[in-house]
């Protein structure tokens, strides 16, 4: 049983109330959308890649406060990372960056990890298509 008011954690509330990098990148190199409204959360992350590194990241999220905070902090975390590094992006980093999350909210950072990986995979797929054509 958890009575902790972790939901109200300062870092979570800061990212929830003042989310960073909201929206879509108009000239995105990769977009990842994961989750479904029917299971509670939808997260979309778009990235711009320059010289093999993520130069910009934006998000849109339908979900609870923690899901929005996780998305926001994720866009900050992945910026500057190489594509290879981003493919290893872990939900634990998201939790840590938000000061730790209760077990009941652990699906939020997992969704963020999946969204980043989906965006990077989308980028790689587009690169392959470009090379072939």
């Amino acid at each position: 049983m958890s009575d902790a008011g972790s939901q109200q954690h300062d870092l979570v509330m800061d990212h929830f109330l003042n989310p960073r990098n909201v929206g879509d990148l108009p000239d995105a190199d990769g977009v990842g959308e994961v989750g479904a409204v029917s299971c509670g959360d939808v997260m979309r992350i778009s990235i711009q890649v320059r010289d093999g590194k993520i130069a910009e990241a934006r998000f849109r999220t339908f979900g609870c406060g923690t899901a929005i905070a996780a998305s926001s902090v994720t866009t900050e975390l992945v910026k500057g990372r190489t594509v290879e590094e981003a493919l290893k992006f872990s939900n634990e980093e998201v939790s840590a960056a938000l000061g730790g999350l209760p077990a009941a909210k652990s699906h939020c950072p997992v969704l963020a990890e999946e969204a980043v990986k989906a965006a990077v995979e989308d980028y790689l797929k587009r690169q392959n298509v470009k090379r072939k054509t």
Partner: protein, 401 residues
Amino acid sequence: MPSVYLDHQAATPLLPEAFEAMRPFFGEAFGSASSLHQHGLRARDALAEAREQMAAFINAESADDIIFTSDGTESANLAVKGVAYANQRRGNHIVVSATEHPSLLGSVEFLEKQGFTSTKVKVNSEGFVNPEDVRAALTDKTILVAVHHANHDIGTIEPVRAIGEIVAERGVPFYVDAEASAGWLTVDVRALNATLLSFSPHKFYGPKGVGVLYRNRRARLDGVLHGGVQEGGRRAGTENIPAIVGAGVAAEVAARDLMQRAAHSARLQRRLWEGLKARVLHLKLNGPEPGPRRLSTNVNLSAEFVEGEGLLLMLDARGIAVASGTSCVSKSLKVSHVLSAIGLDHSLGQAAILLTLGKDNTDADIDYVLETVPQVVSKLRGMSPAWDEFQRGAVKSAIRN
């Protein structure tokens, strides 16, 4: 920053006069009602007076029909299990509506593991039970029918009087959960043909820690807590005298002020719903339109493309306290069983928030909510991929009017 409390379904502030009446029972009048000495006598007198106040509040024939419990959940467990166990030689079938409180449905599910069976009567898209569906569900094995007076989530006022007549004709015990309605609607156990009825004074300015279960003393009821003679042996355990005393005062005041409170909340309810409807596009009211078929305190809304818990937290950050119809605690469906039962689309169910008015809410409160909710919804929609898709014409609105 203004502070607007719109979660009276969860808790209400204690009436000052109830608090004053309770105070001696934390101090010099600390005795237990089971003690034979003078300290016990004072507690017994207080208990007897509160029992009379509760009987008067619901028009019960006798104070002997009142059982004090700890809260609504305990009352529902005692009513459902107590009637089922006491009548198991007569039958094993229970009829409930699909939108009852979880404490009631959970008790029924517990009994099903022990050989009892149940029929969950469906509700329509506004949450109404059709009395004829209750009649059709009755069998010669039916030992209990339970339909709530009003729904805790969407405020639907059920046709309990008509259902009570049908059930009474068959001589089956009828349990009415009046947790959401008591204090805001007249509750009359005789007019409703209720065999059992429960309510909690903390929903109308009494203290937490006490629930009330009415049981017609001619109806069979087994206890669930054993090992004591309190409450006629049907609820063993030391009575929470201070809370019971405060609850009695709250019931008296609620009966006195009922019409005024109901009219006040009904007026604010209309302002709130009409105002939000005019200011927020793609907004759905869940449950019946404000009026005689809906609790005057209840406004349950879905702002499409926004998730309810996020909306709740952002409103809280602006000083507005509401409840959300969903709770995001696992990666599973999070929609309340009531919203599922009325057939609400999942995306709208995820969006639901519950605003419940009280006697102390003001027009200024409503003004602030009407100003703030559109801003917060717009901010959250700005982050929502579903809203973005809707704007681009990729998805359609799920609201059908």
